[in-house]
């Protein structure tokens, strides 16, 4: 009997933990394959898959081929948590979560509680990282505040805009982030003046009262900073132009892409920041090559610049894994935090122990004239946005 028990006890040691499988490298996508977030998650995932394929074709990561597992969050927060647990169960060394803090956080928190590194595939709120999830969480995109600050500084220095109007869509944190960055930058521009501000709701059918307020100003403002996103910003732009207001319209990256421009035919004097141009005219030929490759792989060019962070994410994570020599979370996080202006296809990326996000970035300015968007400039804000301004 005793011998039997001893033998049984000995065999249990052979059953190792299901998680840490050193033979495989697994990337787990706990993102939305259905529901409205799919429209934002899928393009970035496709870009991430392109990078994974490139690495695998070049010999793999640490000599092993990267495998991919997925779990659908169904754009539901409860399902998100389950999806996060599911991919970790399937052996994920990296958990990729949805393109929005609120929708990606459940899966990221699940990964965090299990000690696995998580990456928001393109979330732009400062909470997508240490501040909202934990020390092993990162975001692959650039903070919304940087977009607002970039547009303010660029329009001031390159377009001589001096009077600004601030129109905030109070729907999401992303919108408020853009305006926070704008608010931080504006006082640093000596002759810039805020001549008025207003708010609206993304779902408002009519912003007539807000427009009347702009019209009542003694002079049309040089630029209107519109902190908004799909679908409300299209309606706002349409109504602003329909009212005969011809000010420069500045937006965040959420307005990137031309898929919505049929609603406002012949739009002009409209500017957005983008991490790269999806129109094939980026000054960096490698970006244009990527856009072509994306088109070949998926059948259509990227609709918006939100595909690019997917590529950057796998790129920086893979580099960190190579440098650490392991996929173990603590080592990889340490390598990522050492990255200072690490060159990537879409600009330098920096991670620090205090911020796992970008508070400074190189942006292309996409300007639209007569309904045709094109790269008109590149801009990087003169200094990174401090954490206090981001955490307002």
């Amino acid at each position: 009997m005793k011998k039997l028990m001893t033998m049984l006890a000995a065999t249990t040691c052979l059953a190792g933990p299901a998680l840490a499988d050193d033979e495989r490298i697994v990337v787990g996508f706990a993102t939305a394959q259905t529901g409205f977030m799919q429209g934002y998650d899928k393009p970035a995932e496709d870009a991430a898959m392109i990078r994974i394929k490139e690495i695998n074709e070049a010999g793999g990561l640490l000599g092993k081929q990267i495998e991919v597992v997925t779990a659908d969050t169904k754009t539901d927060m409860a399902e998100g948590a389950k999806a996060g647990l599911s991919v970790v169960d399937q052996g994920a060394d990296l958990v990729v979560v949805s393109c929005d803090y609120d929708f990606g956080a459940p899966a990221a928190l699940a990964a965090e509680s299990l000690g696995v590194i998580s990456f928001f595939i393109c979330a732009e709120s400062v909470k997508a990282g240490i501040q909202g999830v934990g020390p092993n969480s990162f975001s692959a995109s650039v903070l919304a505040a940087v977009q607002g600050a970039t547009m303010a500084e660029w329009s001031y220095k390159q377009k001589n805009a001096r009077t600004y109007y601030r129109l905030l869509d109070t729907w999401t944190e992303y919108n408020k982030g853009i305006c926070d960055g704008f608010d931080w930058m504006l006082p640093q521009l000596p002759e810039a003046k805020l001549v008025g501000e207003d708010t609206f709701l993304n779902e408002d059918a009519s912003i007539a009262a807000q427009i009347s307020r702009i019209k009542a100003l003694p002079e049309e403002p040089d630029a209107i900073m519109l902190c908004s996103m799909m679908p409300g910003f299209v309606s706002a732009v349409k109504q602003i132009r329909a009212a005969g207001i011809n000010s420069m319209l500045l937006n965040g990256s959420g307005a990137d892409g031309s898929y919505w421009m049929s609603a406002v035919p012949d739009l002009s004097n409209f500017f957005v920041p983008a991490q790269g141009s999806v129109f094939g005219d980026d000054p960096n030929p490698d970006v244009n090559a990527f856009v072509k490759k994306y088109e070949e792989t998926t059948g259509a060019p990227p609709a918006t610049q939100y595909t690019f962070p997917g590529y950057v994410m796998i790129d920086v994570w893979a580099k960190a894994v190579e440098r650490a020599g392991t996929t173990e979370t603590a080592a990889v996080v340490a390598e990522l935090e050492k990255m200072n202006a690490e060159p990537t296809l879409f600009g330098p990326r920096t991670f620090t122990p205090e911020l796992h996000h970008q508070n400074k970035a190189e942006y292309r300015i996409i300007g639209t004239e007569n309904g045709k968007p094109a790269v008109v400039d590149s801009w990087t804000i003169s200094e990174p946005i401090p954490l206090e301004a981001l955490m307002k």
Binding site: E203, A208, A209, P231, R241, A243, A303
Partner: protein, 303 residues
Amino acid sequence: MSALQIMFDALSLGSLYALGALGIALIFGVMRLVNFAHGDVIAFCVFALLWPSVDAIAIVFAGNLPWFLLIPFVLVMGAGLSVLCEFVVFRRFRNTNPATMMIASFALGFVIRYFLLMLFSSRPKSISLLPELSQPVTVLGARIPLLQLITILVTVGVLVGLTVFLRRTRFGLEMRAAAENFTMARMLGVRANRVIMVAFALSGALAGAIALILGSQTGTANIVMGANVMLMAFIATVIGGMGSLAGAVLAGFLLGASATLLQALLPPEARAFRDAFVYGAVILVLIFRPQGILSARGMKERV
């Protein structure tokens, strides 16, 4: 901002809500049913202009028709869907209690919305509907987009037309009789099914009109686009007096006016909470006048 400008803004938003409230009140009047699927009928009418596709870009098919074909097309789509709902769903619930009918309309709304989701995906799509209406015109010194002026005129026209229809035609008489006392009206020879079907058709056509206005104003087709107007329409119907068409319209205008006035007059910090003030006012109205502003005959509680 000039008072005239504010007044025009208020009138145009109020017209939109008034049209919505009319659609709800018409059906409530004859069937005592609050049709929560109304918002989804509005969304359906806009999507009827597009070819089903889940791409980011909308494939416009019927939306390319010239305006004199486009407008009847949308109105007919709205009326058609509404009548279909009547046939397939609401007719089965004719004799059940109002709560059951309300739940059925909720469920129907979901079915329509998810049908649209299946065909079009939930990404909002941009459309260019009647772009000629985006030009500003100057009326009495106030600058107002042509679309808003047309909204106001259309609402006035619809009101006048409906009033004439209800007061001067036999069918209107039958509808009013059915609204007051359905059982007695049937006993007196009013064809119940026909009256109800006409009410649904009119309500659906009104939904189509709202879809045209919203689509043209916002330039976006979004499966939840009718929800906001539906909510306001429902509230307008309630505070206007359930069953009173004039009350619903009046309340619709009041809601639009108060939302616009608050947006124009509140200080910047409070503006984001404008809707809280509007709904606060709604609560006050209901506390002091629970039967609504203009109650229909026969709706007052008699001890």
